[in-house]
């Protein structure tokens, strides 16, 4: 296990370098590089001021030196200042991170809570009405544009029936409410965003769980368990389920980028002040410092998520470690 962890950790180094190198190259796709781009914000900048900015960004240095300087800054979590308001990118991200994390974790929990039982049920009752219904649901779930689902819900629940708020994370009159009232207010605002970001995952996970279950139920040890007269419940929930659950850990890691990526659209539709909305604003105002300050940490977090998933899988399944 120790050896496996070491090997897996070392594997992250080239990936980490690759992520930063790729992001750095993207930034330099812009004509003149990031320094020139910031100057667009102050069109009247004199030639002298331009030269000063260029020095500040190290744009007078050769490219590999620029990369190294940029990388050292990133390692110390110094992502520079946002172009638009000159505030530190790190501060801007930190104040928006909690709400994005909260929504993503809630929706991930919701996905597991609903998708796993559905997957298990459709495997144990293969070809039943439920199984067929989930098959169709899976296809629709895969094909549904999340922002359309969001619009439909906003129209039905928010506009037509008026049961849920359609945007933001709290009501305007929130200060007048009790602590409990405030919590309920927040919950009301989060129902639709959490459901919308969970929807795509529901299809994928229930399908995956079903196929895992079917695979495991064909194994010899399940037949053995049945043959020695164990009850169907024990066979399914004790022998089959435990083994079918293990690969879910890996898929959980692999689905991270999709879930994080989905927050751009979800937060924009519902007007939630999170990381996704921040990236959207950064892209619209061509604020490279801010965009890279979000892109690189998101990629690193995804990589760490995958790392943890692999380690978790190895802990659960000794065969993985020996490979």
């Amino acid at each position: 296990m120790f050896l496996y962890s070491i090997k897996r950790t070392l594997l992250m180094i080239p990936i980490l370098l690759g992520i930063t190198l790729l992001s750095f190259s993207i930034m330099h796709l812009a004509p003149g590089g990031p320094a020139e781009a910031q100057m667009e914000f102050s069109a009247k900048a004199s030639a002298e001021a331009r030269e000063r900015l260029r020095k500040l960004y190290g744009a007078d240095q050769p490219v590999h030196k620029q990369y190294l300087t940029w990388l050292t800054k990133f390692v110390t979590l110094d992502f520079g200042d946002a172009f638009a308001d000159g505030r530190k990118v790190k501060d801007k991200i930190l104040e928006r991170l909690p709400i994005t994390l909260a929504i993503n974790l809630l929706s991930l929990g919701l996905v597991l809570l609903i998708a796993l039982p559905i997957g298990i049920m459709s495997a144990t009752h293969q070809y039943s009405v439920l199984d067929r219904f989930t098959t169709i649901f899976v296809f629709v779930g895969y094909s549904m544009p999340s922002f359309w689902l969001a619009l439909l819900l906003i129209y039905l629940l928010g506009v037509q029936w008026g049961v849920l708020p359609i945007s933001g994370i709290q009501s305007l009159d929130v200060t007048g409410l009790t602590a409990w009232g405030r919590l309920m207010d927040k919950a009301e605002h989060l129902i639709m965003p959490v459901f919308v970001s969970a929807f795509g995952g529901l299809a994928g996970f229930s399908r995956y769980m079903r196929n895992n279950m079917l695979e495991v139920m064909r194994q010899d040890y399940v037949r053995t368990a049945r043959a020695k007269g164990l009850s169907e419940n024990v066979v399914i929930y004790k022998h089959a389920l435990r083994n079918a659950l293990m690969p879910v850990i890996t898929i959980l890691g692999l689905s991270l980028p999709g879930i994080i990526g989905g927050s751009v659209i979800m937060e924009t539709v519902f007007g939630i002040p999170g990381m996704g909305q921040l990236l959207y604003q950064a892209v619209f105002s061509r604020d490279y410092n801010l965009a890279m300050g979000i892109l690189v940490p998101a990629a690193v977090l995804t990589m760490l998520g995958n790392f943890l998933a692999d380690i978790g899988y190895a802990l659960a399944d000794p065969r993985v470690r020996l490979r």
């Binding site: 790729l22 796709l29 544009p145 619009l151 980028p257 659209i265 619209f284 998101a298």
Partner: protein, 284 residues
């Protein structure tokens, strides 16, 4: 015994039903194609014809899907929008599949350091949330239909690459490949003439479903205002004005989204059908 025959009858029914779904998928794909090709003939109005007197009018006999905030006919804009979706879907996935085949083939055929290097590149790409990467690149390049195609293509080659690599690893050990080596065939001949044609079926499935995925990404980008730019009609940008007018004009949101859903569903069902047809072993 009787139990097993009823099961197989049930299974047959299930497979028939699946094929029926695949057939339906193909039909959806074909009809969207026809709509895109014959857009100038079917569209009842000029998609960019502004009509100030009929702004945000609900569905009626004149405008079956209503009009938008400039009085333009939503149905006509949707019909023309199908062209954008299909162009982006096909070109982007064409790029992704070409890159994937090339890298996957090299990786699987040669193995060793080349293989590790390419697979690390795949890992890097898979670590970055795709939509974030696309947005960051679009922030730097201008949003335009060409850029969108290229960027989606450059960020979706990882799955085809992995699939091709797996095919190559298993096929390169077969006798006919050894025979080709013995006959003195060059590496590129073995890769493209001997192995690749035998390993194409998973690519076909992933490309078909990939088109659906690319249509989704394009519409999401256009919805965010970072995709196809106005006045070119696209389903995503129609939905974007649907969002702005959600409280007064439901038709602006409802119909274009349905078009996206139907198109993507078509490609997914068709892909699943191709998988079934090419490789019966993968049937569940």
């Amino acid at each position: 015994m009787s139990n097993s025959t009823t099961l197989s009858a049930q299974q047959t029914y299930y497979h028939l039903k699946r094929n029926w779904l695949a057939f339906g998928g193909g039909l959806l794909v074909l009809s969207v194609f026809l709509v895109a090709i014959f857009a100038p003939l079917i569209a009842p109005y000029d998609p960019s014809q502004i009509d100030i007197k009929n702004i945000l009018v609900g569905p009626s006999s004149q405008h079956p899907f209503g009009t938008d905030e400039l009085g333009r006919d939503v149905l006509s804009r949707m019909i023309w929008g199908s062209r954008v979706s299909l162009q982006v879907g096909f070109v982007a996935i064409g790029i992704a599949t070409l890159i994937g085949i090339l890298l996957g083939a090299i990786s699987g055929f040669y193995g060793g350091y080349i293989d590790s290097a390419i697979m690390r590149a795949v890992d890097i790409m898979l670590s970055i949330p795709t939509i974030f990467l696309i947005l960051a690149i679009i922030a730097i390049l201008e949003p335009s239909i060409i850029n969108i195609m290229v960027v989606i293509g450059l960020t979706s080659w990882m799955e085809p690459a992995r699939l091709v690599r797996a095919e190559f690893i298993s096929i390169k050990e077969r006798e006919f490949v050894t025979a080709a080596h013995a006959l003195g065939a060059s590496d590129s001949r073995i890769i493209f003439k001997h192995i690749l044609p035998n390993g194409l079926s998973p690519i076909l499935v992933s490309a078909t479903m990939g088109i659906g995925g690319a249509v989704l990404v394009e519409s999401a980008l256009s919805f965010l205002g970072l995709g196809v730019q106005p006045p070119t009609p696209s389903w995503g940008s129609l939905l974007s004005s649907g969002k702005d007018n959600i409280e007064i004009a439901w038709w602006l949101s409802a119909f274009p989204g349905l078009a996206i859903l139907i198109t993507v569903l078509g490609y997914n069902l068709l892909g699943e059908g191709i998988r079934d047809a090419l490789d019966p072993r993968q049937r569940e």
